[in-house]
Subunit: 340 residues, 2 copies
Amino acid sequence: MQVAKPTIQQISEITGYSVSTVSRVLNGYSKQYRISEKAQELIKKKAEELNFKPNQMARGLRLKRTFTIGLVIPDIANPFFAMMAKHIEKAASLSDYSILLVDSDENTEKEKQQIKNMIARDMDGIIVAPVGSEKKHFTEIIERKIPLVFVDRYFENCEIPFVTSDNLQGGYEATKHLIENGHKRIGLIKGDTSTQPVLERLNGYRKALQEYGITLNSAYEIGDTFSIESGYQSVRTVLKLPQPPTALFAMSNLIGLGAIKAIKETDLNIPTDISLIVYDDQPYAAFLNPSITTVKQDSEQIGKLAVNYIFKKINNEKTDVLQVKLQTQIISRASVKKIK
Amino acid sequence: MQVAKPTIQQISEITGYSVSTVSRVLNGYSKQYRISEKAQELIKKKAEELNFKPNQMARGLRLKRTFTIGLVIPDIANPFFAMMAKHIEKAASLSDYSILLVDSDENTEKEKQQIKNMIARDMDGIIVAPVGSEKKHFTEIIERKIPLVFVDRYFENCEIPFVTSDNLQGGYEATKHLIENGHKRIGLIKGDTSTQPVLERLNGYRKALQEYGITLNSAYEIGDTFSIESGYQSVRTVLKLPQPPTALFAMSNLIGLGAIKAIKETDLNIPTDISLIVYDDQPYAAFLNPSITTVKQDSEQIGKLAVNYIFKKINNEKTDVLQVKLQTQIISRASVKKIK
DNA sequence: CTGAAAGCGCTAACAA
DNA sequence: TTGTTAGCGCTTTCAG
């Protein structure tokens, strides 16, 4: 029982009014064009009856707007990004915008290809958490003046707006927290080092150590992928050192999970034998035993600010280039032990 | 430095060939139309040079295809759905399809509204994990012959295709697992009871109890929302019973987290004082202490099958109505203790 | 082998 | 207060 999709044209024929009148009424320009009450009522009634919905392709073609925002995320299964995506979608849909979602799978090739796709599909704006290794495929977005904002990950010395956490601060405070609990041998389990957040967290880590006069030990800085597996391998390695760390700082929730696995397998106890702090707070962190001390990022705020900025750009409002680093917060739980 | 977006028209002017020829070449119809080598080369070269990408809105308007699949999920921050979404996106992008993502936030109103949106946007297919309370807003999708498939959640006695887990089996086996470990007083912490999976898991639970001659106790069946908070409150309540359960079966990973919180707060120990099994296996389950026994669902397969089916429908291949319930698997870990 | 032209459904400038 | 009409960029029929 296929129901033909009603068009403005059909409503025009049925009501006897022209397509322009129908269009005007349906787009809320009734008073502006002083459309008669009679026409308004009839048209609205018929549209309702037929369950009319304007064809967005036609509308978009004409208006050169798609009412959709492209979102490119390296791993939607990572709860940090999932939460961000949730709030981005929410903010967008509140303004009748939709989200075209891409999971780049931490793969630059897919990212490149899908950025092209987003351009071809005329996204009104694009939000991306770049994989991190390359950035020249973003220049076309900028040349075409398509509103673009990076979230979480971004590039240094670059005009592209971004919203992220203050990773320097986060790295610094996490490390400081460990130091203030008496730790001097602190292992840093890193994510993808081609990525700005990792670099800054690393800087924060070093800054804290130096401030407290602790000499850096490059063997304690290890890892290069945001995954459970990488966290696991890295921690296994670092625990085999002649002088293993007394505390670990894991750079993401996935890495943290891998770290816990490695620690368990080595028959070590958290926090008795080794302390742990994890970047990025996830619901389950509180339920692990011991509960895990984390660095909390405001993913909700990141998403909201990104969408807001895109909307401002879409509406041609003047704005400074948005380059925001949101404060992070240490959520102190039971995985860090005071020593000495 | 705004770069005009090249159109087929412009390429036509530059190369001196008509738009039709350009279109044919660019769409790979060169041999079919026996286009001259010369024309082919010139056109392709220019298109490449100008970084031409066909305008998808115009193309869609003409073709009446959008090359996009709508995905409506109740909570993208739930790792189960996130994982599913990841695989859906992956499968779709492999065929040059994109995903329009909606998070219905477990809210029927938003779901309704966004289903309308999907229709207005002419999705080539729609995949939805329905909130569960209502289904009549899906009829329009069906009347319009838009390929539709439900994932995870679905409706009974309904022609709409779905891919889900075998929730009856999952509920049955989880309960049986507990019973075989000596438990007779088993609390069932439910999710949204307007939802088919919850109903079936519940049936599986009851079936197992009856099979073993254990009388049902309605006070042990509690809860109605897929959330940490609901799991927490429900478990608190059930633990206050004069005869509290010796084992708990939590119907989702979020509910499981809430259960753990409540158990801890009551100063009970898992599994010494109380056993726990959780529906839906998530990476962190292995890292909780104790590690949690779970019912694993194949979210990857769910996603893939759903997308495949949509593609078959899009391509007008004949298929039976897809109504698949994938087997689940008990992942036995340390949260269930043998008693008596 | 190639081109002209219609038309997908909509908006908006222009005309009345 | 309303209608006519020209496109938006593309595909495809029909005509060479």
